[in-house]
Symmetry: C2
Subunit: 448 residues, 2 copies
């Protein structure tokens, strides 16, 4: 006997959960089933924080009640086959579920560096599975020398947390001239690197790791200039690949590197199957080009779009915008859309505007910190195509404000006369509000 | 001999300064002169914080270097007459300035309650003048019983600061059923009132002060039900009137209650004179109706609009949106646009959506606080017309994010699929981001 779900969701991380919650809001009476492989679900961007700030894997879980509390059935099992013509799935545990609509949210898999030694004990990539992370935690508990391959957000967060944990030597090896250079322009990367150095984290730029070496266990990494760095744990945070295995097996159109093919309503090549999150292909909101960016912010947006479209098309996917933020020590950094560097490399004619000021007014108010905003506009249209921010904890919301302006293709003159609420204890002054002033600086520099 | 300014700005508070800075950006070669009455300029919204947090008036000044550092001439003097036909002004100190374009930024004057006793010693309104505030500070330094008339933002901030200062009995008297009720809906007002009560601030709602009594000095206030409250200092924060005296004398079209008449380019009835900030008349962005809202956020936006238009029209005023935020104790509160109550009172058919969640994820991360968002949409169009937020210090930037969505007349379905950057240490999770979920809740409640 098989169970029948109106909506069946395969995968239970950020995209799967957001799809389920939105589906419940839209279809209060439907039977909604989520099937996921892992016993426990990690908060994906919380993983680095397990090792220092949180101290325990179990503190970084998405509680099942976000589903079960909304009358969504949660099954711990693995879907092995989808029969798309007869609209049913089979699982590893031999169960069968029929469905009316299916949402694939199978996520991504961490890339392993294409070098020897990745199979040594204490060489890790960043998987989202609790037992794997437990092993990693045990290794880090005894580590003195940690090498992190990749100076992107995850790599730097791991480095910061390893230091918080008290690990003596932490080294980040980054292929590009600066850490974070895919997300931020050089001046902001410099601020981040300075903060890492303050915390005695070693940064090696412009270098590729050629091998992880050791006798059974990790002992060192070897760089492309022949240098060797002592290591008892290596963590590679160099990106992910979409997990398209099940989709391919089902006969859905896929690109192994870019993901499951979807239309702007998030439908796959089969009309009753949608694909959302890290497993689906993306286009860049700003260039229209295929993009391999993978973020929970994009995943959950796609999930909500798919949920709205299940039984009648209502929402269009707005394509992927990279909106990131992080905290390195007490320095918050955020980026949205294109950097100045990416834009120029693409050949865009651009204008930038910057503004730095305290996040309180007067600046002598207790708790005041400097916040800086940089905005990037296309010269002819003065449409916003990117923004970056550094400062204290409010950068998380400031970058979302900038993200909203990007999604609206807002023009500099609109931003320059935006009305913004300000308060001595909460923001810069109305005269010196960073986003507004950065826009006006960009406008008037273009004008003269 | 008279001096000649290309741009002459009368008034040097938020609007005047923003107008001067924007003018300098637009016209790098112009001679720009600001004439202001006061020796020192207060940060207007910082005034309550002088008395507790800052401790000194001189810590709450806008430094003159924001002007002089940009090669803007600053004159401490008072413009007494404007000859608009011959384009010159005369000052109290007998100086004369010719101008090409003039910007009036004469601000507002605090309303005095229309009751007996306002002339008693230790009865204050909230003026922006340093010597007056010094006197107020001296009175508060010896006060045991302070009564504040008006439970709006300024009144409550004063109450909070008086407590921080250690004043024993602080009472707020508010005419409406709740404090902050013009800016927030009742459930948020309740949170604020509870926070005030936690701090042992007495709140008396639904009551009008009938008289301030005392023998030369304040001794009590009398309420409309006959109750008397002991007081050695009374502070009234009940609103402001535009300061149109100079504009009226100049023969510009004015409404004494609503301000100097301006077109959408911020021009007065004379083409070479602009008026911005608290002294100029306003229309509500959402209803199109005349509005007597007066905020620095509106003032600086108008100032930037006027500056852009001085020598050729380029920018239109987008009309006033109330975007407020404040901090009462450790509770941040923000509001933008219409409240549910105002909208219903106006006869609008609306839908609301709410969402409350921690501002970190997982919620057990150190420093996590609850943040709640309420959004208000017109039912038929699902256009956003208002939003409110409560929580920690990030409410200041969250309300600006909501303010930007308002200014763009954003629809619920767009907000529900917005991509928002999230980070464990900085925001709610992508699944539980408050603004997005509040929008989806509003949509789906309208849908079913």
């Amino acid at each position: 006997m098989s169970e029948k779900a109106d909506i069946l969701i395969v995968g239970g991380s950020a995209a799967g959960i957001a799809a389920a919650i939105s589906s419940r809001r839209y279809y209060p009476e439907s039977k909604i089933v989520v099937i996921r492989k892992n016993e426990k679900v990690m908060i994906p961007c919380g993983i680095p924080y397990i090792f220092g700030t949180l101290g325990e894997i179990d503190k970084n879980l998405i509680p099942d009640v976000v589903l079960t509390g909304k009358n969504i059935d949660l099954i711990i099992d693995e879907v092995t086959t989808i029969d798309k013509e007869n609209k049913n799935v089979e699982t590893l545990q031999g169960k069968k579920f029929e469905y009316d609509k299916l949402i694939l949210a199978t996520g991504s898999l961490p890339l392993e560096p294409p070098i020897p030694g990745c199979d040594l004990e204490n060489a890790y990539v960043v998987k989202k599975e609790a037992p794997y992370l437990k092993k990693m935690q045990d290794s880090l508990n005894q580590a003195h020398d940690v090498v992190i391959i990749g100076g992107g957000f995850i790599g730097l967060e791991f480095a910061d947390e390893c230091k918080k944990k008290g690990i003596k030597n932490v080294t980040v090896v980054e292929l590009l001239p600066k850490c974070l250079l895919l997300a931020c322009d050089e001046e902001i990367c410099n601020r981040v690197e300075n903060k890492l150095k303050e915390k005695h984290i070693e940064i090696i730029n412009n270098r590729r790791v050629q091998a992880i070496t050791g006798n059974g266990k990790v002992q060192a990494v070897e760089l492309d200039n022949g240098d060797k760095i002592k290591a008892d744990v290596v963590i590679a945070g160099i990106g992910v690949n979409p997990n398209v295995e099940l989709a391919e097996k089902t006969g859905l159109k896929c690109d192994t590197k870019m993901g499951v093919k979807v239309d702007e309503f998030m439908r796959t090549s089969h009309k009753d199957i949608f694909a959302v999150g890290d497993c689906s292909e993306k286009k860049c909101h700003l260039s229209g080009l295929p993009s391999n960016i993978r973020l929970a912010s994009i995943a959950t947006s796609e999930a909500r779009t798919a949920a709205g479209n299940l039984f009648g098309l209502r929402r269009r996917n707005t394509c992927a915008i990279g909106i990131f933020c992080t905290m390195i020590g007490d320095l918050g950094v955020g980026s949205a859309g294109m950097t100045e560097r990416t834009a120029r490399d693409m050949g865009l004619d651009i204008v930038t505007g910057e503004f730095v000021k305290a996040n309180r007014h007067p600046g002598c108010i207790p708790g005041a910190e400097e916040i800086g905003v940089k905005l990037i506009f296309e010269r002819d249209t003065m449409v916003l195509i990117g923004g970056q921010v550094f400062g204290g904890t409010s950068v998380g919301e400031i970058i979302n404000f900038i993200g909203a302006l990007l999604q609206h293709k807002t023009r500099a003159y609109e931003i320059a006369t935006f009305q913004v609420g300000t308060h001595p204890m909460l923001t810069a002054s109305p005269i010196a509000y960073q986003i507004v002033n950065a826009a006006e600086n960009a406008m008037t520099s273009n004008h003269s």
